[in-house]
Amino acid sequence: METLNHKEVINLLLQLAAMLIMARIFAEIARKLKQPAVVGEIIAGIILGPTILGYVMPELHEDLFQSHEMTNIALDGFVQISVVLLLFIAGIEVELQVVWSQGKNALKIALTSMALPIIAGFVVAYAFPEFLGVNINDRAVASTFFGLAISITALAVVARVLMDLDLFKTKTGLLIIASAMVVDVVGWIIFSVILSLSESGQEGIGVWPTIGLTLFFTVFMLTLGKALINRVLPWTNKNLAWPGGLLSLSLAICFLAASFTEFIGIHAIFGAFIIGVALGDSEHLTEKAKEILHQFINNIFAPIFFLSIGLKVNFIEAFDLGVVGVVVIVGFLTKYFGAYLGGRMAGVKRNKAMVVGFGLSTRGSMDIILGLIALESGLVSESLFIGLVILALLSSIISGPLMGWAEKLKI
């Protein structure tokens, strides 16, 4: 087996240290400013990447990130694992019980809040593919991808905002959380289906078998898979070291599921997400275990991923004000109004429906992963990806204050 040489190892360790330190510093600054950590982590990446460090101190940037090819491959491995784990924890966050307890209302809000941005995003991207930077050769798929990317809600971010506003346990709060959970599940299913339709995604077994397998895998995992988990977990809890046994085994099955979905031609992250849902829904995965999984994924792997975005793209060179403007305006307005309408259809009062609208507009997690996959598969341009990142930053920053404001409105 080929290994990294002395210099490459040092380089890799320095990369990881620099990334974690920068992510921490900026996450702390974000925290002081009452902003989600993800905002700080993305900004840290822009600073450490070609945009700022590469411009101000090109030699240092080259030494750190461009001097050893092997190191960069190893780092990419870390980033891949981070994405898989992020999706795994996103799946664990989905609690089907909470979704069912909110019933049809959560479903209405989630679906309208997704339908409007998907349709609007598709129309805009399909009509102006060259302006926005979607791949003209794969126009329909790329446009749907864009619509889907702006239709996602960041559950972890909105959970944080709701806690800070002391709204988490209110009726509106639970409705937002449940809707965000539905958005996640529906979003990832649509994602894996359209990815298999894309020209670049056809390395596997063909379109229809992939769609069939996606649905089969989802249904299987949430029924038989869950039943199996419910049998195995009590045994591991009782007989293996705790939380050691649970942590290593749950990560192992996460990687297994991820490799399986990658193998059948859907993206690896879909498997990680669905196994997360199945595992998180098991009553035998204790809340304490969830807390531990959250802590080590959110504070080690999430920063590595969110920071790595800034390393991949030059945010000044590829910046296009027109594209960013369109993405931000279309993204924010359609998501807000979609969720607002859903809220009104579900019989929520006007100001609460506004809270729901702003709440579901928070982004900064799955949408960025989606955008990155689209970028890497050549479906969208760097400018459009930058638009998505800026939309995520802006909506995460303004959603909290807007929710607080709407909550106090007397309408």
């Binding site: 609690e95 909470v98 069912w100 972890a156 944080r160 806690m163 959250h294 802590q295």
Partner: protein, 288 residues
């Protein structure tokens, strides 16, 4: 939702129903029901689904006399052939039964109890509260340790009120009101963005919120001599209740039921369904 306040324990369950099937456990069930009838000063309604014969009537009469059941306050309903669950529910409605007593099934060879399909159907559709006894006894069951579901649900204030009343009536020694912090893992995971002090502050606050909720709902309820403790855990309520009942070896678990069963509930079992499939102890389900 406003619930009617009942004036005294005597009015809590005016009519107690019991379905009988001339099974080996029938006498034990009648004895248990008789004890409850005495506690609450209720009328006993015995429901039998099947053809009424002189022989069965005589047999029942003999059993009732032997067990010392007060016949003036007992009514026997003979429901001619039909689906048992449907006929029992029909009888409950006709007679305005307030509490239906039922026996659970025992898994062959194990100390595990569950509800059969008829039992579940009755619990789902019953117009009244249902008490499921896992092991009806001739010397009658003691309800010394009672656990009440205090999780934040719409019906909980009523469950706490009726649960305390019931515990007083049966002279329970210890009453535990168990409350769960929902999505504890997500909340604490999210809180890990804060400093250590803030995190422990959040943790304390989450626990305190649940205690305050139960205390608020206990305001104005006369607890008499009951020893009540409030316990807080994290997770899904049905699982946590079952675990807690097993841990302390509870005698009775009191939960509420105000759900309307939809297609999704059947596809993805509801919390209450989880409890019915493995009964940790005797179970009183309160309907509004």
């Amino acid at each position: 939702m406003a619930y009617l306040k009942r004036s005294s324990l005597k009015d809590m369950f005016k009519r107690i129903g019991l379905a009988i099937a001339f099974s080996p456990r029938m006498e034990a069930l009648i004895t248990e029901a008789k004890r409850l009838v005495n506690f609450f000063g209720s009328e006993l309604i015995l429901i039998h689904v099947g053809v009424k014969t002189e022989e069965l009537e005589g047999q029942l009469d003999e059993i009732l006399s032997r067990l010392g059941v007060e016949k003036a306050k007992t009514k026997v309903l003979w429901k001619e052939n039909g689906k048992p669950a449907k006929k029992i529910l029909e009888a409950c409605r006709e007679e305005n039964v307030d509490l239906l007593v039922a026996g659970a099934l025992k898994q062959e060879g194990f100390l595990k109890y569950y509800l059969g399909s008829v039992g579940r159907k009755i619990i789902r559709k019953a117009p009244c509260s249902v008490l499921t006894l896992i092991e009806p006894k001739m010397e009658t069951t003691e309800f010394s340790k009672v656990v009440i579901n205090g999780t934040q649900l719409e019906i909980t204030p009523e469950v706490i009120r009726q649960g305390i009343d019931f515990s007083k009536a049966i002279a329970a020694k210890n009453v535990y009101i168990l409350n769960e912090i929902k999505m504890y893992g997500l909340l604490m995971g999210t809180a890990s963005e804060d400093t250590e002090d803030e995190v422990s502050g959040t943790r304390r606050q989450l626990v305190q919120d649940e205690i305050t909720y139960v205390e608020e709902n206990m305001k104005g309820i006369d607890v008499g001599d009951l020893k009540i403790s409030i316990k807080v855990t994290g997770g899904r309520w049905a699982t946590e209740l079952a675990r807690f009942c097993e841990k302390i070896e509870a005698d009775l678990l009191i939960v509420g039921d105000d759900r309307s069963l939809t297609f999704f509930d059947r596809l993805f079992p509801h919390d209450l369904e989880d409890l019915l499939s493995t009964l940790p102890c005797n179970l009183l389900i309160i309907k509004p």
